[in-house]
Amino acid sequence: MSKEMTGAKMVVQALKDQGVDTVFGYPGGAVLPIYDEVFQQNDIRHILVRHEQGAVHAAEGYARSTGKPGVALVTSGPGATNAVTGLTDALMDSIPIIVLTGQVPTFMIGSDAFQEADTVGITRPCTKHNWLVKETDALSGIMHEAFHVATSGRPGPVLVDIPKDVQFATGKYTGPKAMQSHYQPQVKGDLEEITELVAAMEKAKRPVFYTGGGVINSGPAASQLLRELVDATGFPITSTLMGLGAYPASGKNWLGMLGMHGLYEANLAMHDCDLMINIGARFDDRITGRIDAFSPKSTKAHIDIDPSSINKVVKTDIPIVGDVAHVLEDILKVWKSRGRKTNADAVAKWHGQINEWRKVNCLAYTNSETTIKPQYALQRLEELTRDHPSRYICTEVGQHQMWAAQYLGFEDPNRWMTSGGLGTMGYGTPASIGVQIAHPDALVINVAGEASWLMNMQEMGTAVQYRAPVKQFILNNERLGMVRQWQELLHGERYSNSWSEALPDFVKLAEAFGAKGIYCDNPADLDDAIREMLAYDGPVIFDCVVEKHENCFPMIPSGKAHNEMLLGEAETQGVIDAKGSVLV
């Protein structure tokens, strides 16, 4: 079935046919015809952000928390260039989003027209795929393919650049069913490889599951199957920053997060294991530390839908290309059919060893009665919100992000939104708004550092306008804390430009936006202040003044191995050698 309509109408029709209910955007000359169509319908809600970067991060928050693709709509030129950071962020973290940009009319492309930018050229390396639509007849097919590409295989951001004359002209609209794409990634894993993995699992004495964002990408079924497999085998499990919540933090085989700021027991288990089962994680350098010292004694299996993730950094012994849920289902089937065997005695001993490591209590810190320690603030936040039926946590980037990962417990997938791969300061506020728009009744908290928070604070206007009751929980150390920590460890305590001066009064700032401001600098008042934040039905900026010089531990310094982890304040000077200091 094809219908005649204008390009602008097709855009809205295609969004409806793809089941889109929300678009985050910002208008401008080159998208006015589409905005005109948005105005004349009620099925799709348009959220007017305050900056295009905010639109893209909000779409990311929406996508990560719902499992559906997020959509952003921005104008040509500056609108498109403002979207670049968000696109790169989504590419690094495999978040499915569709960004629609306006473009100058086709007959003016290449003439340095007003607000012209080579959008497909600029965004080619930061999208999974992008399209410049040259004729209206091609528009609906491209729109549907854009959704297909963004959400199939390894998810990621796509961009459709639509010249203004294409929006005005009339053409044939075709529905999603007519969409043709040769892009059909493989989802089923190779049974031979799967059987090889199962055989290795039956014999393993010191196995560990190393799980990542791919489990979340694969959908809720993947988390369910993972829980079944972990509980049935009794193998310990750790996760990257991106995979938190796939296995519950309260689960009995949970080791906590691994990596640079991961838990001692998780990193040592990775270092000493004899079988590492990587499920949807990509051996990021925050995980491996020094590659030649990374888990030297283990057989490594790697399940990933993207063949380029396999053998990219770490040599894999058992490679399995496929979707996590599909592969886990087959692993369970094969393992059960072979009699549900594990080397139970050895695995019990392995848990004994892990429990010894646990006794190190690597998250211990020295509390204070006079200043709020950031760890304490997060422990109290956890205590007071843990039982909330639908709690979603976003973060900015820095020490607070790592502390949030360490001290908050995630029981379910899609409840944790953080910028991992790109590490984009300014991600959290708009992402929290995207999450809240998707889940109006949920408790959505953005754990922020004051420096990151200032990077996209204009989005408080969006929160107030749409009554999105997001809680901005700012751990204010008046420092670019993570930078300061590295300068302490690496640059002889020369704190070059790593403090936040001339900070705004956050309470007044909140009031200026029409939100509520809360200030707290006393540990004794903290619980009440948090309760006040939770009780308030509307957006809140919580200025939580914390210890200024706290460092984030544990920490594996750059260029070091897992078993060379720093646990606390001891002697941290000069721990990163010349070779490590070139690493980031």
Binding site: G121, P125, G153, Y183, Q186, D190, I305, P307, N311, V321
Partner: protein, 186 residues
Amino acid sequence: MSALKIKKGSNSHSAYNLRPTFSDVVERHTLAVLVENEPGVLARVIGLFSGRGYNIESLTVAEVDHTGHLSRITIVTTGTPQVIVQIKAQLGRIVSVHEVHDLTVEGASVERELAIMKVVGTGDKRVEALRLADIFRANVVDSTLESFIFEITGAPEKVDAFADLMRPLGLVEMARTGVAALLRGD
């Protein structure tokens, strides 16, 4: 193109060998990449190589299937086995890429390149240039009293060898097409 239809991500085919050897020896591979013939597709492929720091020794591209809108890009690249495998996997994940073939590992292949060279000279040098061209089966496609343009076709090494011989004989300008390659047999 051989009739092999390998799915993206397939690990059953040698082009996507997921168990490469991890040696430090740099190898030279010829890749045939079948892509959607659409604007920007070459930029995607070249951008991948420059963005990730891979080498391109030669690259040719032209439409090979008009009705199917497919172009064939032949790339000669170098790298350790791990890098070569990464290059193929990275090419495979470009949405406009339909197939990636590693002609160096999939069997014997034929590689041909065309070059045209302008050789300026008189007297003995001119005679010698003509004599060598004959030995290399290079054709004269343009001639003045003081210059020839030779056209030569062959494996890149043959073109190199001919160019080396022409240099002292007055080679002033050269244009090469880059490698086109096909698997032998059916």
